[in-house]
Amino acid sequence: MKNSIRQSIRTGVTFGIVHIFFILIAFNSMISVLIAKLSGIKNPGEIPAPKFYIAFTLLMGLWIGIAALNKKHSLSVGKKLLLSFTTSLTTGLMAGVLDVLLAIILVNKVFIRDFLTVLSFDFIKATLFGMTPVMGTIVTVLCFVAAGVAGGALTILNRTEAVQKFWKNIISWFKKQIEKIQYLSRGKYHLFWQIGGISLLALVAILLPMQWGSYWNYVFGTVGLYVILGLGLNIIVGLSGQLVLGYIAFFAIGAYTMALLNAPEPHNLMWGFWPALLLGVLLSALSGLLLGLPIMRLRGDYLAIVTLGFGEIIRILLKSDVLTNFTGGPRGIQNIKGPMFFGIPFNSEVDFVYLIFAGVILAGFVYNRLKQSRTGRAWLSIREDETVARATGVDTIKYKLLALAIGAAFAGLAGGIYASRNQFTGPDEHALMASINVLSLIIVGGMGNIPGTILGAFTLKGLPEILREFANFRLLAFGALLVFMMLSRPDGLIPSSRPKYDPPTEPAPEIDKKEATHGK
C-alpha cells in the first residue's frame, strides 16, 4: 500500500509537470476557448470567461484521477479513492505553487514575457479564474482534488461488474455483426458481397465529392496523393527494405515536368496534361535508376542519408540561381494548365478528387499485383536477408533498382497530379519534411499493406486538418500523437499479414529427376 501511495505521488508529480507545461504554453486558454465554443458562445475571444478555465482544470483533474488507478485492480474501494486523492492532491499542490508564483508576477507587475512569452497579466488573471490570488490558488487545488476523486470514483464505477458486463455486451454485439458479415462474405454469397462492397465503395467515392464541399474535397485529394506516394515508398521501404529518405525528390521531378510542360512561364510549351504526366512518370523512374546505380552497395542508414542528400540536392538546384531560367527558381511555376478530358476542361476540385481516386486505384492495383508475384517475393527476400537472397538466385542489384524505379514512378504520378491541381509548384514544396511525412505515414499505417497506407495517409494528412481547431498547438499535438501512436502500436495501425497459399487442388506434379534437375 505504502508503495502504491509513493507511486501515486510520482504520477501526481508527472502530471504536475504536464500541467505546468500546459499553462506555460497557454494550452488552458485554447481548451477553454474550445469548451466555450462547444457551449455555444460564438466568439469567446482569446481569453474566455473564468468558468471555462475552471472547466479545463476540472477536466485535467478527472484525467489525473482516472490515470491514478491505471493498472490497480486488487485494492479496495477506499484505498483506490485514497490513491486518486493523493495523486490529484500532489498535482493540485504543484499547480497551486505555480499559481502563487504567477500571482507574485501579477502583483509586482514583473514583465516576464521576454522569457516566457504567454505570461501576460490578463492571462495570469484568467488562470487565477479572475479571483484574488489566494482564492484562485485555493480554488485550483480544490478543483484538482475534487475532480481527481471524482475521476477515481468513475473508474471504480466503470470497473464494477454491471458496467463491465454492459461494455462486454456492446462489444460482443459488434463482434457478432462483423462475424455475420464475414460469414456471408465467405459463404456462397462471397462474390456477391465482394461486388457489393466494392460497388458501395465506388458509390461513396463518386457521390461524396459532390456532397462535401471544396475544402474536404481538397483534403481528401491531398490524402489520396499521399496514398499514392505511400504505396510507392512502400515498394521501396516496405517490400525491398531500402530506407530512402529523399523520396520527395521523385515527386518533385514529376511535379516540375508537369509544370514546365504546361505553364506559360518560363517555357510556354503547353504539351497538355496527359503527355506531361506520362513523361513525368518516366522521368522519375529514370532518375530512380540513376540514383540507384552508384549507391546500390549501401545498406540501411547509409542509404538513408545519401538519399536524403539527393532530395536536398534536387530541391536546392530547383531553387538555385543556376537553373532559374529553366525552372523559374524560387518563384516556382504558376498557372499550370489543368487536364482536358476528351475535350472537356477537367479541373474543379471535384474532378481532381476523381482523378486522384483513379490514380489511387491504379497504384493500389499495381502494388497488389507486384506484391504477390515472383518480383514481390524477390523484394521481400532482399528485405529479409540480402546475402542469402543473392545466393538463392535473386539478382539483388537488379531487383533493388527495379524497386527504386517503380516506387519513383508512383511518386512521379502523384507529383504530376499535385502540380496541375494546385496550378503551382515551387522548390519549397519539396522539402525534407515532406519526405519524412511520407515515410511516417507508411510506418504509422502499417508497413507493406494498402489499408494501412490509406489509414496512415488519413492520419498524417487528414489529422492536421482536423487539428486545425487547435490553432498554434496543431503541430505540437501532431508530434505528440506521432510518438504516442508508435508507442501504442509499433507495428502500425494495421499490421500486415502474410498471404495464405492453399495447397493445389489437382494432384501435385510429381518430381521427375529429368525435369527437376539440371543434370545431363
Partner: protein
C-alpha cells in the same frame, strides 16, 4: 476481407469528416444581393464578420505568420463595428507552401462568414490560393506576397500593399548609384523569391546606370554563419553590399561583415530588413545601414499608439518578430474600410455583397495605413509610390536625405 474492414473504416471517416465540413447558405436579401455577381454574405444578430488570413504559423517561417496575424488582430480591435456587428480575424496555418495555401483557401471558401482575406503571406501559398478565391469572389489584400507574377495573371480578387520588386529595386539601384555615388556593388540575396527577385532587379538596374556589380551571391536562409560567403565578397572589395532578404539573415550579415574585411563597405537593405529588430540585433554594427520602405512617416501618431497596443497585448515590441507587423495591420484595416463601404443592414441582418466588396478593395483609394499610403491600381498593386530610404543613425531609423 480487408476490403470489408477498410470499407467500414472509410465510411466512418467520411461521415465524420463530412459532419465537420458542411457549408451554410444565405437567405432572402436586399436587391444588391440579387444583382451581385457572387451574392451576399449574411450575418444574423451576434454573428461576427470574419476576415481570413493564411499564414505560416508553424515551421521555420512561423515568426512572420504569427507577427502579421498579431498585427491584423489589433486592426480587428480598432475596426470597431457596423451597427453592432464586430470583426474577427481567422488566421489559419498554411505553412507558407502551396499545399497549405490551397487547403486554407478551400477552408475559408467553405466558411460563409469569411468575406475577405488579408494575405496570404508567402507567394507560393498565395499563388495556389488565388484561383480558389477567384471562383467565389473573396477579395485578398496581401501584406507581403511580392512575387511580380501574381498581379500579371489578371486576377480580380488579388491585391497587395507590398512593394513590387520592380518599383523598389529600380529606385534602390538608382539611389545607390546616383545619390550615394556607389561604383562597385556586391549583390546578395537569400534565395527566396522575394530576395532574389529584388536582387536581380537591383543588379540589372545598377549596371544599366553604369555601375559595376562585382559579385552576386545567394546565401542559404536560416543559417547563422555567413562569414565564408562574406569573405569571398570582400575579396572583390565592393563599396557597398546590397541585400535582398529579411532581417533574420540581414542582421547576421551586418554583424559578420565587420569580421570579414567588409567593415568599410556600406550595407543597403530593403523593406525586408527594416524594423526595430534590425536595430536591436545589430547594435553599433548597424550604424549607417540603409533600408528602403514604403513612403510614410515612420513615427506617426497612429503608429505610436499601435506599437503601444501591440506591446501591451503581445508582450513584444512591434516589428521584433518580423518587419511586416504594420503591413499586417494595414492589410486587415484596408479590408475593413472596404467592407464598411459596401455592407448593408436591413431587417436585423447585415448583408455584404461579395462582388461589390471585390470591386471596393480593388478601388481602395488613398488609404493611409501605418506602413504607407495605398491606392490600388487595376492590376491590384496598391503600393506604387517611390520608396523612401532610411538610414540607421545613433541606433534609430531616420529618413535619409
Amino acid at each position: 476481407m480487408k476490403a470489408m474492414k477498410f470499407l467500414a473504416v472509410f465510411t466512418v471517416l467520411v461521415v465524420l469528416l463530412t459532419a465537420c465540413g458542411n457549408a451554410g447558405s444565405s437567405a432572402a436579401a436586399p436587391e444588391v444581393c440579387e444583382t451581385d455577381a457572387f451574392g451576399c454574405a449574411v450575418f444574423e444578430e451576434g454573428d461576427v464578420i470574419k476576415i481570413g488570413m493564411g499564414a505560416p504559423m508553424t515551421g521555420g517561417n512561423a515568426s512572420y505568420g504569427i507577427d502579421i496575424s498579431q498585427g491584423a488582430t489589433i486592426a480587428m480591435i480598432d475596426a470597431g463595428n457596423i451597427e453592432g456587428w464586430t470583426f474577427a480575424l481567422d488566421a489559419q496555418d498554411d505553412g507558407g507552401t502551396a499545399e497549405g495555401g490551397a487547403a486554407v483557401a478551400n477552408k475559408f471558401v467553405a466558411d460563409p462568414a469569411i468575406v475577405a482575406v488579408a494575405g496570404h503571406i508567402f507567394s507560393g501559398a498565395t499563388a495556389a490560393a488565388i484561383p480558389i478565391y477567384e471562383k467565389v469572389g473573396i477579395p485578398m489584400l496581401s501584406p507581403s506576397a511580392t512575387n511580380p507574377a501574381l498581379t500579371t495573371t489578371g486576377s480580380k480578387v488579388f491585391n497587395r500593399i507590398a512593394f513590387t520588386d520592380l518599383n523598389q529595386g529600380n529606385n534602390a539601384a538608382d539611389y545607390l548609384y546616383n545619390t550615394l555615388g556607389i561604383k562597385k556593388l556586391a549583390v546578395l540575396h537569400d534565395g527566396s523569391d522575394y530576395g532574389k527577385g529584388l536582387a536581380d532587379i537591383v543588379a540589372a538596374q545598377f549596371v544599366a546606370d553604369g555601375g559595376e556589380v562585382v559579385d552576386e551571391q545567394a546565401i542559404t536562409p536560416g543559417e547563422t554563419d555567413y562569414t565564408a560567403v562574406l569573405s569571398t565578397v570582400a575579396s572583390k572589395s565592393p563599396d557597398a553590399v546590397y541585400f535582398g532578404g529579411y532581417t533574420a539573415e540581414g542582421a547576421v550579415l551586418v554583424n559578420q561583415m565587420k569580421t570579414t574585411g567588409l567593415e568599410n563597405a556600406l550595407f543597403f537593405g530593403c523593406d525586408g530588413t527594416y524594423g526595430e529588430d534590425f536595430l536591436t540585433r545589430t547594435g553599433e554594427n548597424g550604424e549607417g545601414a540603409y533600408a528602403s520602405i514604403a513612403p510614410a512617416s515612420p513615427d506617426s501618431e497612429a503608429k505610436a499608439t499601435f506599437n503601444a497596443a501591440y506591446l501591451e497585448k503581445f508582450g513584444k515590441e512591434a516589428g521584433s518578430l518580423s518587419p511586416y507587423t504594420w503591413a499586417g495591420y494595414d492589410s486587415a484595416a484596408g479590408l475593413v474600410v472596404a467592407i464598411k463601404e459596401v455592407a448593408v443592414v436591413s431587417g436585423k441582418k447585415l448583408y455584404i455583397p461579395r462582388g461589390a466588396l471585390v470591386d471596393a478593395v480593388r478601388t481602395l483609394d488613398n488609404f493611409v495605413g501605418l506602413s504607407g499610403t495605398f491606392t490600388c491600381q487595376d492590376n491590384g498593386e496598391c503600393c506604387v509610390d517611390k520608396p523612401q530610404f532610411v538610414i540607421v543613425k545613433d541606433g534609430a531609423w531616420t529618413t535619409a536625405d
